[in-house]
């Protein structure tokens, strides 16, 4: 009797297990991924939402949970999640040295992309391991971004500035004319760059570096081969820091609030910013606003800072790596490019234009022969960026000299361990 009962129990158990196995297999056809982003409420968030919706439509067995995580502390949260193994499958990452920093946690996408596919991605170089696409893509860029200057056409005309300045002497001449007409030439201050409460000096530094070095030479700044205190940099950064004293800017460069508003209201003729405010600028100023390359050089400015600053990565510990990569690949398709462009961003895939005329004007720089440069704060060490943010601002504010600001940056670089300034980007 007992043996019969035992057999029944065993059979029941087996049946239940088999049923579970079949049910599992059946449900494993539909996969749920988690995606974390730090895009807040702006255009990137809208683009992400729409991209996910379109992707889910194309792939009905894959569902993606989009989670908006706080923008500040985002990377600390990711780190903590990796430590606790609660990390998402897909996450927004910043490119350049920001992703090589987390290389150990990010899935190397080398097996998933052919060389041909990589060539079509504009920002592939700076999103790869050691900045070499053949060593494996780490981040799939979402959009093209720019560091850029913007000027007010009407104010230039009013002050008699007939051509857009392309080097220091032309810039200072334009400043004199604008000041005489009672207009602030370039406005600096706290926002709109939501990065922090002070001006972000790396928009300007990128263009200063573009005037001195070629894109490949920038590695010298990373390794220290080109020291931060090199005479060329000291001279150019010195000229930059002298702008407030020469009357080229407002007097409260470090503390003025709402500078975007000041520019839009016509109180200032020029502003240095990124492309993220182009929709706002266009709406407020119409055809009166146009982009120009910050002329922080002795020779005419020949570089444009066009760079994909962020995108998506797959976490190494994701249990659905294949499906996650499918989403990344979706980002290179025309459907995706259209969605990105409709959200007000500039797609990173070659052959696509944007909806905003300002954006197209910015894209035209590269197409008409200007050399494309990365954002310098993405290709130098984070510690140096932190020091530079503080010291370059202090120089602009007139507290210290440009030379001593650059010296601090050099000191920070020299005190880093060797593997963080070696021949391999870490």
């Amino acid at each position: 009797m007992r043996r019969i009962i035992g057999a029944c129990v065993a059979l029941t158990v087996l049946a239940v297990l088999a049923g579970a196995a079949f049910a599992a297999r059946g449900s494993s056809r539909s996969v749920t991924l988690t995606l974390w982003h730090n895009y807040g409420t702006g255009g990137n968030a809208v683009a992400t939402k729409n991209l996910v919706a379109a992707f889910e439509k194309q792939n009905p067995n894959i569902k993606i949970n989009v989670v908006s995580q706080p923008g500040g502390n985002y990377f600390q949260l990711l780190q903590a999640a990796w430590i606790a193994h609660t990390a998402p499958d897909l996450s927004v990452e910043w490119t350049g040295l920001f992703d090589t920093k987390y290389e150990k946690q990010l899935l190397n996408l080398k097996p998933y992309f052919t060389t041909g596919e990589l060539n079509k991605i504009n920002g592939a170089r700076w999103s790869s391991s050691n900045f070499t696409p053949s060593q494996g893509l780490l981040v799939m860029p979402l959009e093209n971004q720019f560091y850029m200057g913007f000027y007010n056409r009407a104010l230039f005309k009013k002050a008699g500035v007939t051509s857009v300045p392309t080097d220091w002497s032309q810039l200072f001449a334009a400043c004199t004319k604008l000041k005489a007409a009672g207009i602030t030439p370039i406005v600096y201050g706290a926002d709109p760059q939501a990065i922090g409460p002070n001006p972000y000096p790396f928009y300007d530094l990128s263009y200063i570096a573009a005037g001195l070095f070629s894109p490949t030479q920038l590695k010298g700044l990373y390794t220290g081969q080109i020291p931060w205190t090199s005479p060329g940099l000291v001279k150019e950064v010195g000229l930059w820091a002298s702008m407030p004293k020469k009357g080229c800017t407002n007097s409260d460069v470090l503390t003025k609030t709402n500078i975007l508003g000041a520019f839009m209201k016509g109180q200032a003729a020029m502003i240095i910013d990124g492309n993220w405010d182009t929709a706002t600028l266009r709406k407020a100023m119409g055809a009166n606003v146009a982009p120009f390359l910050p002329p922080f050089t002795g020779k005419p400015q020949h570089g444009v800072v066009q760079y994909s600053g962020d995108g998506f990565s797959v976490s190494k510990e994701s249990s659905h790596q294949k499906e996650a990569v499918q989403f990344l690949k979706f980002l290179t398709t025309p459907t995706a490019a259209r969605i990105i462009s409709q959200a007000g961003l500039i797609p990173d895939v070659q052959g696509f234009s944007a909806t905003n005329p300002l954006a197209n004007q910015m894209l035209a720089f590269a197409r008409t022969g200007k050399t494309v440069y990365p954002m310098i704060d993405n290709v130098i060490q984070g510690d140096v960026v932190t020091t530079g943010m503080k010291q370059l601002d202090a120089a602009l504010g007139g507290d210290i000299s440009a030379a001593s600001a650059l010296k601090s940056m050099k000191q920070t670089l020299d005190s880093l361990p060797a593997n963080q300034r070696g021949s391999v980007y870490h």
């Binding site: 839009m264 209201k265 407020a284």
Partner: protein, 282 residues
Amino acid sequence: MSAIDWMERQGVAVWRRRTSKSLVYLVLLAVTAIMLYPFWLMGQMSFRSLPQYYLGKGFSLTTWHDLFAALPVGREMLNSTLITLTAILVILAVSTTGGYALGKLRYRLSGVVFLVVASSMMVPMQSMIIPEYINLARLGFINHYYGAIAVYAALGAPFATFLMTTYFRRLPEDVIEAALIDGLGYGTVFFKIMLPLAVPAIVTVAVLQFIQIWDDLLVGLLFLQTPAHRTITVGLETIPAQHFQDFPMEMAGSLVSALPAVVVYLVFQRYLVRGLTMGMSK
């Protein structure tokens, strides 16, 4: 001294008292303006849309609409309430008992214990939150309400215990001695006599900890990583991005988030003064 002289002197004294009193009120009103300014600013900014903020004028309800569309405000407020209230209950439980023990019962090691409790506040949170996080992650406390509640309770307990100890020490001994003569034990003394007398301190602890826990960002961020459990303070942080900040929306969100603390304070502030109970117990 003639009658007129006397009346004059009285008049001067009254005048002097009046001017010093009006001076006092002037100062108090000036301080009031300074204290209320942030609320006025939050209100003014939240009723402008983002373009209106840049241009510095205008009135619009867009921002409020967008706030509730961007964040599950109600849900996150509920999460904040649940977590904060539970943590405060735990904090009050351990700090009143601990404060009574360290402030009144005073056994041999109580000095050392008090020192340890007070010192544990002195290590900055940023330094020890990661080890704490790793420990609790190993125990599976992440993404559960009780994880965050436990951490908040632990972080707030030293401050609360310190205050309760200070307060209990100031309470007079003779009340306890009278109770002991009547045959009550130390435990009953705590519940029947000490706690009612400690109401002002309890309210102070509750209100201060409410604000501290409600406004905390780091613990909520690390220990409650999923939106379902998120508090409103962490939720508000999802509004700003790297290159884009909807300032009016942040102001609107901050205003909503500040309201519960204000309500809690206004409801409980009359318990801050003990008043007559002391005299009555005698």
